[in-house]
């Protein structure tokens, strides 16, 4: 395994598994951020030279992509199982806050519940794409913040002194 990939994979695994678990989503986008931040923290630890702020984008994006893949593998089957519970909760909400639209929603929900599995999976695609985008975006933000928090060393490529000019440069201009 490429050493530069290992932090991102570990961060992605943590973010993906925690996101996919049902009833673990009560903390404001925290798991995507945590996944990206863990990837950044491990990358900082493994790197011999100081990492630049922009490296957080790379580690966060890879961690987010891995987290999204794990969500697809674990979260989608779980969402299919718990889908009726979600619809029930939404129905209860509609009954309370918007009774006029509740009857329409009930009809739409019945149609969705009676759909075959293949159509239900197709109906989940937009929401799943949104989740993937959110996971990647939050992991990138987590990676950027993680680098800012965990990279305490100064210097690096952008802060290094300029290299000397090549030996062929000299005062022989115009000669």
């Amino acid at each position: 395994m490429n050493n530069s990939m290992k932090p991102a994979i570990i961060g992605g695994l943590v973010g993906g598994i925690l996101t996919a678990l049902p009833y673990s989503t009560s903390c404001c986008c925290i798991w995507g951020l945590v996944g990206g931040a863990i990837a950044a923290m491990l990358a900082v630890k493994e790197s011999q030279t100081p990492l630049q702020p922009g490296n957080g984008v790379k580690f966060g994006a890879i961690a987010g992509a891995i987290a999204a893949a794990i969500y697809l593998i674990i979260g989608i089957p779980l969402a299919l199982v718990t889908g009726s519970a979600t619809m029930g909760a939404m129905q209860g909400l509609m009954d309370r806050v918007n009774p006029e639209a509740a009857e329409q929603f009930r009809q739409a929900a019945e149609i969705m519940q009676n759909q075959p599995m293949s159509e239900r999976i197709v109906a989940m695609i937009p929401g799943t794409l949104l989740v993937i985008c959110l996971l990647v975006a939050f992991s990138i933000v987590g990676g950027l913040i993680g680098i800012a928090i965990f990279e305490k060393r100064k210097g690096g490529p952008a802060g290094a002194p300029p290299p000397p000019p090549p030996p062929s440069f000299g005062g022989a201009t115009g000669s």
Binding site: T19, T25, S26, C28, C29, W31, G32, Q52, P53, G54, N55, G56, V57, Y71, G75, A79, T86, M87, M90, L93, M94, R96, V97, N98, A101, Q104, F105, A108, A109, M112, A123, M124, P126, G127, L129, L130, V131, L134, L135, A137, F138, V141, G143, L144, I145, I147, A148, I149, A158, A160, P162, P163, P165, P166, S168, F169, G170, G171, A172, T173
Partner: protein
């Protein structure tokens, strides 16, 4: 024959505090526009539900359900329906969008270093205290306290994200430039 000194390409330029490059402007624009679109999407879910577009509403509520508990009692409402996330999350994203948009007023886009870490921890303190006081039952927090304290954290978080995005855009741009130069 030695090269002319005029053909020397500087290997290092002190970018801190320098004028923003076009790439820095693009990076800031992407972050600010993304944050704004994200914040607008929070309102799209109740708007779609109120308009009878239940499939779209369900997709949005389901998608945002992965990042928030979405309890109606703890959420702002629009068009008779709760936003796609709770009041604390909505405040966090509103603050982040405001922080990203107003970033150039506080720091030059030429800088790629993040502020000191202590400011991020200090900004996280009010919303953490608000959350813990509410959790312990010592104080009943409100929509306003939840959203305002989280907005402070979101706004400060943007100060750490934009420099990273600017640095990333600059380094990627340099690499692309090198690849193109090598090909030509």
């Amino acid at each position: 024959m030695p090269d002319s000194i005029y053909s020397y390409v500087p290997q290092y330029a002190a970018a801190q505090g320098a004028r923003p490059t076009p790439r820095a402007l693009v990076a800031w624009g992407v972050v600010a526009a993304g944050a704004l679109v994200f914040f607008a999407a929070l309102f799209a879910a109740p708007y779609a539900a109120a308009g009878g577009h239940f499939s779209l509403a369900r997709s949005l509520y389901d998608g945002f359900g992965v990042i928030c508990h979405q309890q109606p009692a703890r959420s702002f409402h629009a068009w008779g329906m709760p936003l796609a996330v709770c009041a604390r999350c909505a405040g966090l994203y509103a603050g982040f969008a405001a922080g990203a948009i107003l970033y150039p007023l506080f720091r030059t886009l030429g800088r790629t270093d993040a502020p000191a870490r202590r400011w991020l921890f200090l900004a996280a303190a009010p919303t953490s205290i608000d959350f813990l006081l509410g959790l312990s039952g010592l104080w009943e927090n409100t929509h306003l306290s939840r959203s305002l304290t989280a907005a402070l954290l979101g706004a400060v978080a943007a100060l750490y994200v934009v420099p990273g995005a600017v640095d990333f855009a600059a380094s990627r741009g340099r690499k692309l430039f090198r690849v193109r130069a090598a090909r030509s």
